[in-house]
């Protein structure tokens, strides 16, 4: 950028080009980020926490956006400042670095020679052209192909290795901006939602906690079944939902009965469904019975939801009045699941009695014509799915990959340069490296050692 441009603009530019600003911003970001790890963040702020704050504190926290700190105006401002700082620094420095790569200094004059910390100078017999050939062959074999220039009868040889690694730093810095862009694409064009699906039912919208509005998926998802399994220790082993994607009510081939577990989501049309939580619906549990007649005949299996009338083998009806997973709360001397049922057979008064899963022989003693055994209840569950659509995510991964590559370029590669000057039986060699001077000194000393033996 131009340097003669009014005092204010110039000092603003210098301010944004300064590495001290970078360090200050990074330290500011590091320290302020702590706030959001200590204060609960939206949308997970418990009401008790709000109540525990004094009104002054609450006022302060609210106005500084501490409950949604990472999206507060001042935190975003810090990120913008960092971005401007980054771009300004790069705009200022990149042309210089590019010049080193694109137009390397190929002549080692006295000034350059003095500025190099590694030089060596010795006599070597032979005329200039022969020496030049010898040096060129040597550099090509031991280091890298040289470029030869002649100035007033003096030959200059220049060879270099990995000049582009100087761009590593800029790749890192560009990658940060790419990640920011990816994050913005995600926040403008993506969704994050949540949905509970009861087993056997389907949904076509999900709830967005940020806007508190439903998002229309454009298709529906049905939960066929949800199950949890446990290790012997009682720790959960697997949460599994079986999902089917429906277009216009029809199952989509390839997206039917797909198991979704934690760490293995389902993706369809850019939306991804992640297993996140579950719970009992608290209604609609089915109770299962086996019924046989005292007079003999095949036992019959019956499933009944609470309140539902189901036909019995003798032509009558039964109804589950109440079913509980553990009867202990009502009858302390009994255990296991139990169901209170009512049977109505033609011409008889309704009968109410309880059957127990853990005591299968008990109902026989009741003396009725039909003998019930209770096979248990199945509670209906809902599965809680996290739903996300993020078109920016690939941009973010591109940025991350570039960042890792850039950091490795900047740290582990070095731009190594060797100059050789040949004049009247005199050879001068000089070298420099952009990184790890101690390591390069060894390389340089080895080169000089070999040169002397030529």
């Amino acid at each position: 950028m131009t340097t003669k441009k009014g005092g204010f603009l110039q000092s603003l530019w210098d301010f944004f080009c300064s590495l001290k600003l970078t360090i200050s911003l990074l330290i500011c970001l590091a320290t302020t980020s702590i706030i959001g790890t200590v204060i609960p963040q939206f949308p997970n702020v418990p009401p008790e926490y709000i109540q525990s704050l004094s009104s002054n504190k609450l006022f302060l926290y609210k106005n500084l956006g501490f409950f949604n700190m990472y999206h507060s105006w001042w935190f975003i401002l810090l990120l913008y400042l960092l971005t401007v700082n980054l771009i300004a620094c790069s705009v200022k420095r990149l042309p210089r670095v590019w010049k080193i790569i694109a137009e390397p200094t190929m002549l080692m004059d006295g000034g350059l020679e003095k500025s190099l910390s590694l030089t060596h100078d010795f006599k070597m017999p032979g005329d200039n052209v022969a020496l030049r050939e010898k040096m060129a062959a040597f550099l090509k074999k031991e280091f890298a192909s040289p470029v030869v220039t002649e100035v007033d009868g003096v030959y200059h040889l220049f060879s270099q290795k990995t000049p582009y690694c100087r761009l590593g730093v800029y790749v890192v810095h560009a990658s940060i901006i790419i990640i920011f862009i990816g994050a913005m694409i995600g926040s403008y064009f993506g969704y994050k939602g949540f949905v509970n699906i009861v087993e056997g039912t389907s949904i076509s919208t999900v709830y967005d906690p940020r806007t508190e509005k439903p998002i229309d998926l454009g298709f529906s998802v049905r939960c066929e079944k949800f199950s949890v399994s446990f290790y012997d220790t009682g720790a959960p082993k697997e949460f599994k939902s079986i999902l089917t994607v429906l277009e216009k009510g029809e199952p989509v081939p390839g997206y039917t009965n797909i198991p979704v577990v934690v760490n293995d989501p389902l993706s369809y049309k850019g939306f991804t469904f992640y297993q996140s939580s579950y719970g009992p619906t608290g209604e609609g549990a089915a109770a299962y019975f086996t019924v046989r007649r005292r007079t003999g005949g095949e036992p019959v299996k019956i499933a009944a939801r609470q309140g539902e009338k189901v036909q019995l083998p003798d032509g009558g009806y039964m109804q589950v009045l109440e079913a509980v997973p553990d009867v202990k709360a009502y009858m302390p001397h009994m255990s296991g699941a139990a169901a209170k049922i009512e049977t109505v057979s033609a011409g008889n008064a309704p009968l109410q009695f309880v059957v127990f899963q853990n005591y299968p022989g008990l109902d026989e003693k009741r003396g009725g014509d039909l003998i019930f055994t209770f096979d248990g209840i199945s509670e209906k569950y809902y599965t809680g799915l996290q739903v996300a659509k993020d078109p920016g995510v690939w941009v973010v991964w591109l940025g991350c990959a570039l960042m890792v590559v850039g950091i490795c370029m900047a740290f582990f590669l070095s731009h190594k340069r060797i100059w050789v000057r040949v004049t009247h039986e005199r050879v001068t060699i000089g070298g420099s490296a952009s990184k790890n001077p101690a390591g390069f000194q060894l390389v340089f000393d080895a080169l000089v050692g070999k040169l002397k033996k030529l």
């Binding site: 990074l26 994050a183 290790y231 934690v262 760490n263 992640y274 890792v404």
Partner: protein, 283 residues
């Protein structure tokens, strides 16, 4: 039958012995003593490597079959192992054995804490951790943390030495300090250790984000653990820029390196102990 827990005890003991010999090395400056100190650490490292492999096998024998990186105990053990690994690499490459005196204690502290206070049972993996990403994420993070531990040890040496040089002018340091490498070398070694740690931490954060995206659909959710790893990353980024800024070289860079490691430890342990979030280690 040799069990992994027996070998872990031998490891802890080796690191203790190594630490004591290292302190003797500081006092005597005798090269043979230094060699013994390193050898004790390497012996412990080999035993520990065997023990980790054995524990992995034991997990298969129990029918769980997962890498020993799944709970606080296993991660602390692995952390100690990576600290000695990174120390070993730096020692072999740069031949400054003495930094062991400031690094091996971290590994010893970790091992003894794990052996004495943490639950060493081999548990099956909870659903959230059943993924190959666990391996990539944990290994890169801990290698990074270990490099920062080494850098912190070196920075402490730098602070001690720089303080002495300030008060004693330019007269050559006597006593224990004479065995320290010169300030310039310590500054350089600090940078080199962070040059190992920073890319690894970056990879650790990236693999963590990739895993979160794969498992939960968000690569970044400002969960306290994520945020603290970013804080650590900011501190070391500040360090890297401090080193190329006049007036920030040397002492301030060393302070940033120590602060960075303190933040690392908080990120690793403090977040689980004091804050709540998605990462389930240690709870």
């Amino acid at each position: 039958m040799i069990s992994s827990s027996m070998l872990f005890n031998i490891t802890t003991l080796s690191y203790l012995v190594s630490m004591i010999i290292f302190f003797a090395f500081l006092a005597t400056k005798n090269r043979v003593v230094g060699l013994f100190a390193s050898c004790a650490a390497y012996f412990g490292f080999i035993v520990q490597t065997t023990a980790i492999i054995l524990r992995w096998k034991e997990s298969y024998a129990l029918g769980h079959g997962h890498a020993p990186l799944s709970n606080l105990y296993e991660s602390v053990v692995f952390f100690s192992w990576t600290i000695i690994l990174i120390y070993g690499l730096i020692e072999l490459k740069y031949k400054y054995r003495i930094i062991g005196a400031f690094v091996v204690p971290f590994a010893f502290l970790g091992m003894s804490w794990a052996q004495l206070r943490l639950d060493s049972g081999i548990e099956p993996l909870v659903p959230a951790l059943q993924s190959n990403w666990l391996l990539y994420h944990v290994i890169t993070c801990f290698l990074g943390y270990a490099a920062f531990a080494v850098a912190c040890g070196i920075s402490i040496m730098y602070m001690i030495k720089a303080k002495h040089e300030e008060s004693a002018g330019n007269s050559p340091a006597g006593g224990i300090l004479a065995s320290f490498p010169p300030c310039k070398v310590l500054d350089d070694l600090n940078y080199r250790a962070i040059m190992i740690g920073f890319p690894l931490l970056t990879l650790g954060i990236v693999t963590g984000a990739a895993w979160a995206n794969y498992a939960w659909g968000t690569y970044w959710s400002w969960d306290p653990k994520e945020t603290w790893s970013l804080i650590v990353w900011f501190v070391y980024a500040a360090f890297l820029h401090a080193r190329i800024t006049r007036g920030w070289v040397g002492k301030r860079a060393a302070i940033l390196s120590i602060v960075g490691f303190a933040a690392t430890i908080f990120c690793y342990l403090g977040v689980n102990l004091f804050l709540s979030g998605l990462h389930s280690y240690g709870r």
